[in-house]
Symmetry: C2
Subunit: 302 residues, 2 copies
């Protein structure tokens, strides 16, 4: 998966993940209205609106953005119907050849982690294999330690999939736990986690110098990200916090390796909600998203 | 919610949560066969088997166990169809008057946390309120700090719901992060998180001395749990790790307060898979679960 992601980034010429994290006020009335007419004022209508919105975006960015990163919370909000729209979004993006990173941030132990690993490995029921989630990779939370991660590493190996483990997140309160210094080693919690992530990834290297076990490193902490690039030379970074959260291409320049590789930068609102901030697009969601993605690609090259 | 939980524990006479975490080899062939006949060899059949299995258990324990704790991973494994079975399980347990704790261990920031908070607060779509998940409380992961927790605390207040935040988990590798000592304060990571959980809960007290913001404290670490009871006198504990993970009633005696309150102890396999370890029950899942729950209640009283 990590090799496929790197190849796809090179083919598109930009390390962009489009965060498909729709909220209802981002979705044009025409899409909501059509689905309420079809399904009634119901969670099914809400879920169908999310999916239709995502399809308009995917149709316009699949050739210039290597990956989508749907945030499952935005779908779980609408119950099981919403969750189905998440899976259908992933399936649709894959038909267009995109890499799908399920932003699920799961973290649980042993047999539970094995169950969650179905997000990338699928499931076998009565001898038949199913892949209900259609994801190439997922994000994971490391708070419970290796027990929560190892079952996913096994699937990375057996199914050529990837995982992105939270190391330093982009939100302000990430400092409450992640930035505290640990007495035994003098490292911060996130630096300690970075070491664990590197070691978990050693047995899952791709052919391009990066492991299938990757990290989430927020764009909003430039100094920490730069230091992590040095301490984690074989760990690919998924970078949230670009755009709407305030970071620019300049802030994250040193998160990349000396060949300009090693990162995938996510933008959600900045791309999927671009039609609302640029009135010239009317409610042509996809057209505005494409223009925003192209602006982002240019910013990342500067 | 915390007051309702405490009242329900007193009415049932035992602080038991039944962990509805089914895996396929716990489910009798008659249930799987019936659903495959009805739905074909499909994820729909798998999901329907999970739900039927859970209903047999709920029908036999609703009057002696105050709560169920379905682990959503066991349902997510089977895709969106499985997730629907999770929600239907919760809805069914509520029709029997049980408290439902969704074991989702979500943890994400800001607008994403707000979306996840639909697990307890429901969602409003075009002015209409929906409650797709039917949970009284959920479990949460604190790694991202207050940003991941605050939106849930608000729902605890506005909707009388509860949250259980991971403090010290029951798995062996929990020590990799949670047990390390922090330099500034000399506390371990989990002790530091315990302090955060206490402070997040101060504004959400129930009337019985406990906050709606509660903690997950594993039964497998007796010393730490005993210390946490002292340092968190107003924090209710959800205790995994009893039974199949090795802990007994004796190990967790000091997790309770001096009135014998303040804890809800979860058992999953020990109850829902009891029919397989006690052949006298045949495949009468519910009967075996009831007997196991009664044994557990007795053990917790010793």
């Amino acid at each position: 998966m990590i090799d496929r992601l790197i190849a796809k980034i090179e083919a598109c010429g930009a390390p962009i993940a489009v965060g498909l994290d729709p909220v209802m006020d981002m979705i044009p009335d025409r899409i909501k209205k059509r689905n309420i007419e079809e399904h009634g004022l119901s969670l099914k209508a809400a879920a169908a609106a999310l999916l239709d919105f995502n399809k308009e975006i995917i149709d316009c960015i699949w050739d210039i953005a290597p990956a989508v990163k749907p945030q499952i919370a935005m779908y779980e909000r609408f119950g099981p119907e919403g969750v189905a729209a998440y899976a259908e979004t992933a399936a649709y993006a894959k038909t267009k050849g995109m890499i799908v990173i399920g932003d699920v941030k799961r973290g649980d132990i042993a047999s539970t982690a094995e169950a969650y690993a179905a997000h990338i490995g699928g499931v076998i029921f009565e001898g038949v294999a199913f892949d209900p989630w259609h994801a190439d990779a997922v994000t994971l939370n490391p708070y419970m330690g290796a027990d929560a991660i190892k079952p996913f590493v096994e699937v990375c190996l057996s199914h050529d999939k990837g995982i992105f483990i939270l190391v330093k997140t982009s939100n302000p309160s990430s400092s409450e736990i992640q930035d505290i210094t640990l007495a035994p080693c003098g490292k911060t919690v996130f630096e300690h986690v970075a070491g664990l992530v590197s070691s978990w990834g050693e047995g899952a290297m791709g052919t391009q110098g990066y492991s299938k076990v990757a990290a989430v490193v927020g764009a909003t902490f430039a100094e920490q990200g730069t230091a992590l690039r040095k301490s984690m030379p074989h760990t690919f970074f998924l970078i949230p916090g670009y755009g709407a959260q305030g970071a620019t291409g300049k802030d994250i320049r040193d998160f990349f390796d000396s060949d300009g590789r090693g990162c995938l930068v996510n933008s959600s609102r900045g791309i999927i909600s671009a039609w609302r901030t640029r009135p010239c697009h009317g409610d042509r969601v996809g057209e505005a998203a494409r223009e925003a993605a192209m602006r982002m690609a240019k910013d990342l090259k500067l």
